[in-house]
Assembly symmetry: C2
Homo-oligomer: 154 residues x 2
Amino acid sequence: MTDTASETNLLQPGQLIARGVCRLLASHDFWCLEEFVPARGLRMDVMAIGPKGELWCVECKSSRADFMSDTKWQGYLDYCDRFFWAVDPEFPVDLLPAQSGLILADAWGGEILRYPDVSRLAGARRKAMTLKLARDTARRLQALRDPAGPSALL
Amino acid sequence: MTDTASETNLLQPGQLIARGVCRLLASHDFWCLEEFVPARGLRMDVMAIGPKGELWCVECKSSRADFMSDTKWQGYLDYCDRFFWAVDPEFPVDLLPAQSGLILADAWGGEILRYPDVSRLAGARRKAMTLKLARDTARRLQALRDPAGPSALL
């Protein structure tokens, strides 16, 4: 196991859930970018893209307070085909809107408990989001692979 | 400088050129994935995606022999809007097809010497390539960020 305690200690509670979500979604052949910005002022915890270009947004909540203070999540609905909450097993899930998807997750993985209905993006929005996801992900990858290069300075 | 000699020593000559190409293209707001597989049996050294979704393929050649033994490059033309060769300054550039683009590069950066004509991809192909680029890049990023996760096992 390379899952050291020191590694998980560096992450915030919401980031630990996000890591588990990314592992879970990978097993569904959905690939993720964390902290994706679909439009100015919005920052999704996780955006995932599926084999047919499906775009799923997952917001990770580590506590009741974390959820109650989120005033932006409805804005994300316009930028994804499905919207999920991801919470740890202690979270009071009755707080969450029943029409949203629901994932239980911790730092090591998770499970999809409820699928939301699909609200398919229009073609132009999907195209723009897929392009932005491709470019943002490539920039992020380049910054990690070549930390002395220009992408790491952005 | 974090560009240590030990870092560059780990890369093959073609990979060093590719690193410089990625730095160069980043300065043009094109973001890259190395060793992109557009279709079975094809592996581009660098695929780059621009702000309007432009797809540029760059093949990196470190020597005459490296170029002469490449039997696949014409297959890449069907998967990009522009095709470039990237070579180091010692390369005999007269060998290269005049209609291709030309980049001079080393491990630290480069310069675009010649733009090829644009041969725009059809919409369906562009859509498929952009989706594959987004997903492959996200999978690669996840493997780097979370080496204990499932993506690192692929």
